[in-house]
Symmetry: C2
Subunit: 258 residues, 2 copies
C-alpha cells in the first residue's frame, strides 16, 4: 500500500524542502521506494536533488488534465527515489486551477493512478510556504501531514493555524482521512534558550504528535543542496545525516505501531 504524505507549513523557511529531500533519501536507505513530488514553484526540492528546472516538466499540465502524472516521473541519482520536478511556471497553475472547477481536487486526481499502482511505498509532497491553491490541493490529496517546524517564535505562532486547518479539513469531510502524522522540530540549536523554550512549548501542547528526533542546525545541511545531494550522501557521518536517518526510522516505527 502506498502512503501519500504532505510536508506542509505555511510559515516560510522552516525546513519543508530539506525534510522532504532528506527524509525521502533516508527512507530509501531503509529499502523503501519513494516518489518525491515537488509542488513548489521555487523548485527547491528539484535542484536540491540535482535536477534541472525544465519548462513543462512539472505537474502543471497534469493539473490541467493534459497529461498523466506517470509521464512526469523522473529517476534521480538514487535508487528507489524518483521525482516529479517543479518549475517556475507552476506558479501559473494557481490562477489556472482556481478559475476551473474541482479546483481543490486536481492533485488528488493526478496522484490517484500512481498511488493505486503501488509502485512506491511513499509519495512525499513538498509544499510551498502558503495556504494557497497548491497547498490546499496537497492537503486534499494526502492521508497524512508531516509539519516541519523551526525552533523559533514565529514558527510556533503559525503551528496552531496549520493544526486548526487539518482539523477543519478532516471534520468537514473535505478529506476525512487526513491526520497529522507528526511535527518535526528543525534547526534546533541546543545552545539557545529560544530553541529550548520553543521545543518545551511544543512538547507541552502536542506531546505525542512531536517526533522525538530533533533535527540540529548544521551548516552541512545548508551546503548539501548546492551539490544536488541529500545529506546521507553528501556527508554520511554528519549530525544532519544521523538525524534524518533517525527520523526515517522513527517515521517507520510509529506507523508499524499504529
Amino acid at each position: 500500500k502506498t502512503h501519500v504524505v504532505a510536508l506542509a507549513n505555511q510559515k516560510g523557511g522552516v525546513g519543508k524542502t530539506t525534510t522532504s529531500i532528506n527524509l525521502s533519501a533516508a527512507l530509501t536507505a531503509f529499502r523503501k521506494k519513494v516518489l518525491l513530488l515537488d509542488l513548489d514553484p521555487q523548485a527547491n526540492a528539484t535542484s536540491g536533488l540535482g535536477l534541472p528546472k525544465t519548462e513543462g516538466a512539472s505537474i502543471y499540465e497534469v493539473l490541467l488534465g493534459n497529461a498523466t502524472l506517470d509521464s512526469k516521473i523522473l529517476p534521480t541519482a538514487y535508487a528507489r527515489l524518483d521525482i516529479v520536478p517543479a518549475e517556475v511556471d507552476l506558479a501559473g497553475a494557481e490562477i489556472d486551477v482556481a478559475r476551473g472547477d474541482r479546483y481543490l481536487h486536481r492533485v488528488r486526481e493526478a496522484v490517484r493512478p500512481v498511488k493505486e499502482s503501488n509502485a512506491y511505498d511513499f509519495i512525499l509532497i513538498d509544499c510551498p510556504p502558503s495556504l494557497g491553491i497548491l497547498t490546499m490541493n496537497a492537503l486534499a490529496a494526502v492521508e497524512e501531514i508531516v509539519v516541519p517546524m523551526q525552533c523559533e517564535y514565529y514558527a510556533l505562532e503559525g503551528l496552531s493555524v496549520m493544526l486548526r486547518l487539518i482539523d477543519e479539513l478532516s471534520s468537514s469531510g473535505a478529506n476525512p482521512h487526513l491526520r497529522l502524522e507528526g511535527i518535526v522540530m528543525t534547526m534546533y540549536d541546543s545552545r539557545t534558550n529560544l530553541a529550548q523554550q520553543v521545543v518545551k512549548e511544543v512538547y507541552e501542547h502536542f506531546s505525542d504528535q512531536v517526533y522525538e528526533t530533533l533535527i540540529p542546525r548544521s551548516v552541512r545541511l545548508g551546503e548539501a543542496p548546492s551539490h544536488g545531494r541529500p545529506i546521507i550522501d553528501y556527508d554520511p557521518s554528519s549530525t544532519g545525516a544521523l538525524a534524518y536517518r533517525q527520523l526515517a526510522r522513527e517515521f517507520l516505527t510509529r506507523r508499524n505501531l499504529r
Copy 2:
C-alpha cells in the same frame, strides 16, 4: 514626499518580517515617520510589534473597496511608527481579489490617499513568501523594493527569479517606476564557508545593489518578536540592533546620494 517600499522575496524565512519591523523602528530613531503595512496573512509583523491579530482589522476590507486604508491605521508603542495590522482572513483576500477586476491594482489604490497625504516619510509593506496576488499587488503599488536574502543556497537560487520579475514589471509598463532599492544579506554567520560564498556570489553579480550592512545571525533577533518589540528596544546594544541602525543609515544615505 512619501516613499512606498516593499520588503519582498518569494523564498520563505529569509528575514522579510524581521527587516520590515527593525528597519521601520530604526528609521523612526532617525526621526522619520513610518507606516508599516502587514500584507502577510501570517501577521508576523503585527505580532512582532506586540499587536493582536484582530479579525477585520487588516487591509482586507480596503482591498474590496469597503473601507479606507486610513481607517485601519493603528499606533504602535513607538512614536513615529504606525501599523496596518494583518489577520488570517487576509488569506481569503487572494481568492476574492483574484475573481474581481483590477485585481493587481487594489493595494496601489488603497495606499494612494495615504501616500498623497504625506503623513509619513515611508510606507513599508511586509510581503508573504509567494508571488501570489497579495505580493503582486504590493509590487504594483511601490516605487522601490528591498529584497532581504539569507546567506543560503536556496535563497541565492530564488534571487534571480525576483530580480527578473522586477525587470518585467518595470519594462512592461505594469509599474514603470519600480526599481530595486537594494538587497539586504541577513542571518550572516561569518564562521561558515556557505555564508561567505553566498555573499561573495551576490556581490559579484549585483555589487552596487547590495547593502554594505550585513545583518548577522543573532538569537536576540529571534527572541525580540516574542516580546513584541523591535531589536533597538529589546536589546539596544546587541549586534542585531547595531546592524539595523546601520542599515537604516545606509538606506537613508543611498537615497540622498541618488
